[in-house]
Amino acid sequence: MAVKVYLFGKLKELTGQAELVLEGISDTDQLINEINTRFPKTKNIPCLIAVDKNIVHSITPIKEGQELALMPPYSGG
């Protein structure tokens, strides 16, 4: 199962990636672990997770075709 992950702000800068396609990710904890393993610099960066454009606050299953996003705290306005 492949899912698309968007990366924003400082997370985009540190990974050098605006989007990734990941295989074998079945929940949001696995997603974070995979990103931290591939990009160790992201480990201590505060991060919000959106699944289909909704913020999730606890471990959440991921299904095929969902749109994932990893986002640093917002600083608009």
Binding site: Y6, F8, G9, K10, K12, E13, L48, A50, K53, A69, M71, P72, P73, Y74, S75, G76, G77
Partner: protein, 152 residues
């Protein structure tokens, strides 16, 4: 994206002229008694001895527009607004330029004023937008918003 979701993003700064035109466009709405406007302007702060010359804004636009739509519906209903307009810049906005324009209108002033303030707090807390502060030597740091009372 739903059909009724309005775009709020403008590439580059928001000009005084644009704001003036949006104001003038409300003359036909004679149930309006008060307009409240908030404008965010990029500050030329000195951080660690270096001057901020610009902020570069990026967003997750699809998510931001969905959330702004919800904020708009909530606030219009709560304050019985006649209308609300919100614009946020993307891209590099120089110090002194305007990057945020929130515009609320109602029959009575208190509704317009409170709605404007609440919209500003909510969009700062809830919209996925990031600012990168760029210094005169081209180095940068990611902007951190210091609270207010948030919108939650």
């Amino acid at each position: 994206m739903k059909g009724q979701v309005k775009n709020i993003f403008i590439e580059g700064p928001i000009s005084g002229r644009f704001i003036g035109e949006k104001i003038a466009a409300h003359q036909s709405k004679t149930i309006i008694g008060g307009h409240s406007i908030f404008l965010g302007q990029v500050r030329g702060d000195i951080l660690q001895d270096k001057k901020v010359v610009a902020i570069e804004y990026t967003s997750y636009p699809d998510m931001a527009l969905d959330i702004m739509n919800k904020i708009r519906e909530d606030v219009i209903l709560k304050y019985a607004l006649t209308c609300m307009h919100v614009y946020h810049s993307l891209g590099k906005i120089k110090a002194g330029e305007i990057c945020l324009f929130v515009f609320t209108s109602a029959s009575h002033r208190k509704a317009a004023i409170e709605a404007c303030s609440e919209t500003v707090e909510r969009l700062k807390a809830e919209l996925p937008i990031w600012g990168k502060e760029i210094f005169e030597d081209d180095s940068f740091q990611w902007k951190v918003n210091h609270g207010g009372h948030g919108g939650h």
